[in-house]
Amino acid sequence: MTVSPAVPKSWYLPSKPHKFCPGCGHGIVLKALGEVIDELNIQDKTIFGCDIGCSLLSWNFFNCDSTQTHHGRTTPVMVGIKRSRPELVTIGYMGDGGGYSIGSQHLLNAAVRNEKVTLILVNNTNYGMTGGQMAPTTLPGQKTETTPYGRDTDVTGYPTKGPEFLNALTQDDAYIARATVSNYRQLKRFIKNALRNQIEGHGFSFVEVLSTCPTNWRTNAQQTLHFLEDEMEKYFPVGELKNPLGKGDK
């Protein structure tokens, strides 16, 4: 008897195997998202939108209607779609550069307006696609192509804590969480809650996912996990900051 590997029904198989680097966390996030789309049975009404950067490689990842835009602009495109067709489930997928830097004004204003979209932001502490430059999330002292001697907080400030600032901007009907690819079951639960929060009409839903980038971190498997679990998770606390669905739904 052969057992096929479990592939979410909502994945678009002709685009597999996917194009992310070995060891990259995007595949884990997108697997969790695919399983959630299946479990919520929303494949036919999902609009998946991706940004520029590594997240772009997911433009044909799902067997769902998908669109793609410029760096940082996924949020307004998804807002335009959701406001036009509230029955659709809109998922914006972006990196830390797109969300917290070039698209930060869109992100914070969408949160303030309680736009009923779900945004998933993958935080790997650098700009991966462009070759490993400093991101808003680069840790103090971390070496990148534009901080070759380590991030100097006197010069470039401290890492952006996205869920924390969005938590401060939103009301009780928003869903705000930070997950990590090191805890798959929790990651999937947070993504599911974020989508349910949109589907049930509560409001803005946001999940930051701590992820890995061994290519640009120049780390082996052990070092990669160490950086994620011991460095990143220490600086960026994992958990739900706001969950309007109630404790019983977790």
């Binding site: 678009y12 494949q43 036919d44 009404k45 609009i47 939108g49 520029i52 772009l56 433009w59 044909n60 799902f62 067997n63 769902c64 209607d65 998908s66 669109t67 793609q68 835009t69 410029h70 602009r73 307004p76 495109v77 998804m78 807002v79 335009g80 779609i81 959701k82 406001r83 036009s84 067709r85 659709l88 004004q105 869109h106 204003n109």
Partner: protein
């Protein structure tokens, strides 16, 4: 869709108010906007009228967002539009580029203000280059330059139709004078004039079950290989060139025997029209040519006017420092007629300005 105007009627309105009524009559379902003078009253009227007709509005955080929310809305199948000016037009070049790349039926009203930079909030014709060829693309846009309030109404309605029929971003290029002044016009329901409105349709979020009734849509504007992009851009260029003859509009008067052709666009062409009449009364054979579409440009029609008139000179009059002039030169490359310019960037031009210039160069 609910009737908005009802019986055709005379009106005395500002240009911005007319934009709103025309967008309502054209069936526009949602406007995304950000405040900038001199287009603000488009939003002011829209926010008052839209709820009465079940239409939507969102004031976004900036013009970049206004443009991209329009891109999202039209992908979702809604007739959506925005309005802007000056530095806002600069910021919107990014979403306009996406609309060009993905063939999105985006409609934007541009009420030109003075430039460069913040310039003035009043008036100019300095957004010609930006509106026709802005962005990192090839200028596959449709740009109508209006001259009267009746035209604002007519071309806003037409703009929605050509955008959804041909799927290139469409611009109604006005200016602060047209935006703010009042003028009489007739407003009407498009169907009462035999104008059939093109229905919008979704590009994503379509009906039916994926894998059963239809395949999933994967829209994108970035490509892995040079050749992939090359094929897309060539296809767009071919489509644009094929439809251009159906889009091109122009106006021509007294060119048959003209010694001098006066070329202008937008509100300046009204001064040119008066100047041609006055010059003719004084025995100077002047002719009038006005491109209504700046993209695509009526280049063959202008070449024909030059040829049939046998004019000795051409004068380009504009409230900019040569933006229309450069556009014309590239469009009629090879013509040997000397071209003079009356460039008055950011200020209005009246018939006397044109008449005096003509007399100085003939």
């Amino acid at each position: 869709m609910q009737a908005t105007i009802g019986e055709s009627k005379k009106a005395f309105m500002t240009g911005n108010e007319i934009v709103t009524w025309a967008a309502l009559a054209a069936g526009a379902e949602v406007m995304f906007g950000y405040p900038i003078t001199p287009q603000n009253e488009v939003m002011h009227y829209w926010t008052r009228l839209a709820p009465k007709y079940g239409r939507e509005f969102l004031q976004t955080e900036d013009e970049i967002s206004a443009g991209f929310t329009v891109c999202g809305a039209v992908q979702a199948g809604k007739k959506a539009f925005t309005a802007t000016a000056g530095p806002g037009n600069v910021l919107m070049q990014e979403p306009f580029g996406m609309a060009e790349a993905m063939r999105l039926p985006l409609v934007a009203i541009i009420q030109q203000r003075g430039g460069p930079s913040s310039g003035t909030v009043v008036y100019s014709q300095q957004e010609v280059t930006l509106t026709t060829f802005g962005g990192n693309g090839e200028g596959n846009r449709m740009v109508y330059s209006t001259a009267t309030h009746q035209e604002i109404f007519d071309y806003v309605i037409k703009g929605f139709n050509v955008a959804w029929k041909y799927r290139f971003p469409t611009f109604i290029l006005g200016d602060g004078y047209q935006a703010k002044m009042r003028e009489p016009l007739t407003i009407y329901e498009p169907q009462d004039r035999g104008i059939e409105m093109v229905s919008p349709y979704p590009l994503i979020g379509k009906a039916g079950s994926i894998g059963v009734d239809r395949e999933a849509e994967h829209l994108c504007n970035i490509y892995s290989l040079e050749e992939e992009l090359y094929d897309v851009v060539l296809q767009h260029a071919e489509d644009y060139e094929r439809i251009a003859p159906e889009i091109i509009e122009y106006e021509e008067k007294e060119c048959e025997d003209a010694d001098i052709l006066i070329i202008s666009h937008g509100v300046v062409s009204r001064a040119a029209d008066d100047a041609v009449k006055a010059l003719r009364a004084q025995g100077i054979k002047a002719g009038y040519f006005r491109p209504i579409t700046l993209r695509p440009f009526p280049q063959q029609q202008l070449r024909d006017a030059i040829a049939k008139s046998g004019a000795k000179k051409m004068l380009v009059a504009e409230s900019a420092y040569g933006q229309l002039y450069r556009l014309i030169r590239q469009e009629i490359y090879g013509e040997t007629i000397p071209i003079e310019g009356l460039f008055m960037p950011g200020v209005g031009i009246i018939d006397y300005d044109i008449m005096n210039k003509v007399k100085s160069i003939l």
